[in-house]
């Protein structure tokens, strides 16, 4: 869009990322925003208003998912971006990288079934007051696809209670009618956790892929709510005077 109102998104490309083009497509072709791919060797994110870490198999998932990508040069810039309040969304492998980088709490274990699971699941929006879910109704059920072998979220009891107290659990796997049950949990995730945010609220990690279901033609456009929510939040932030960042 040449109206000067579009936002600048950066989609980080690690060696082995494979959902980067999908993210760029949704942001630019579907939503009319400016989206560029950012190679993982970049050390600056200047000019970007939001950053997406896409899905894939960075570094072939060697050692642990996300374990090696977190040392890519761009990660120092992402940490700085987050510290300055920048909005970061990690999808699937992007979520795993954010966990390994310590930008989100917890870790991923192998799926309970040991299988790579690729299917549509339902998640319930536990917190609709985040910059990533503002377009959703509280407790709204979204149908989103997952595709992973390591999505079995784990954290210790103390961290889990802190996350609950801070409303950091954003999505939980549920039945189509919104009941959070063991049967609706595809991978064994603790507390059916499918997506979490950091304490400050500007980083979200989620295992389902919103970029794979953001168009009517695909038969499901629930994912679009995530990107539209981010756009709303960015536009709102732009209208407000920029806070002076310390450090």
């Amino acid at each position: 869009m040449a109206d000067g109102k579009s936002m600048n998104f950066g989609v980080i490309v690690f060696p082995g990322s494979n959902c980067d083009h999908d993210c760029v497509h949704v942001l630019s072709d579907v939503l009319g925003q400016k989206a560029i791919e950012v190679w993982h060797k970049e050390t600056s994110l200047s000019g970007l208003e939001a950053v997406i870490l896409p899905g894939g198999f960075s570094y072939g998932d060697y050692l642990r998912t996300g374990a090696i990508a977190r040392f890519s040069p761009v990660m120092a810039a992402i940490k700085q971006f987050v510290a300055e309040g920048g909005m970061v969304l990690g999808i699937c492998n992007g979520f795993q990288i954010l966990l390994e980088a310590g930008l989100l709490p917890g870790a991923m274990l192998r799926n309970r079934s040991l299988a790579f699971i690729c299917k549509d699941v339902h998640v319930r929006v536990e917190n609709a007051a985040t910059p990533f879910t503002g377009r959703c109704e509280p407790w709204q059920v979204l149908k989103l696809p997952i595709a992973h072998a390591d999505g079995n979220y784990y954290t210790d009891d103390v961290t889990l209670s802190q996350m609950k107290a801070n409303a950091q659990i954003v999505f939980r796997y549920c039945t189509p009618d919104g009941r959070v049950t063991s049967e609706a949990n595809p991978n064994g995730s603790l507390d059916n956790i499918a997506g979490i945010r950091n304490a400050a609220g500007n980083v979200l990690g989620m295992m389902p892929h919103p970029e794979r279901c953001s168009e009517d033609v695909l038969g499901d456009d629930d994912g679009r709510l995530i990107f539209l929510s981010m756009l709303d939040a960015l536009k709102k932030a732009k209208l407000q005077p920029k806070p002076v960042m310390a450090g």
């Binding site: 050692l63 642990r64 374990a67 090696i68 390994e100 274990l109 309970r112 040991l114």
Partner: protein
């Protein structure tokens, strides 16, 4: 038997691995899931062992084994390095624990 003599003339491996006459440190590192953390691979292996008739096998835990050479002869320095490597990269201490042997 000159051929045999020439084989013996090849330096022994220990000499190749040495640094100024002292042996380099080798590290053997084991990374496993912490006790109490679900290990689906360990469980699957345990079931397979039971199917094979090894019903006495229990608490199977699956882990990773790494070995590496350090360009270092001082043991204490080597140990500090190995520990830092485990903490920073080789293990995710939220879910895993590690142990190592140096030789």
């Amino acid at each position: 038997m000159r051929a045999v003599e020439s084989i013996h003339a090849i330096p022994k491996r220990g000499c190749l691995d040495s640094l100024g006459g002292e042996e380099r440190v080798k590290a053997k590192i084991h990374v496993t899931l912490k006790p109490g953390i679900l290990d689906p691979q360990g469980k699957a292996i345990e079931q397979a062992l039971a199917t094979l008739g090894y019903k006495s096998a229990s608490n199977v835990r699956m882990g990773k084994y790494l070995e590496l050479d350090l360009n270092e002869t001082a043991r204490e320095k080597a140990e500090a390095q190995v520990k830092a490597m485990c903490e920073k990269l080789l293990a995710n201490t939220i879910i895993e624990e590690y142990r190592y042997e140096l030789s």
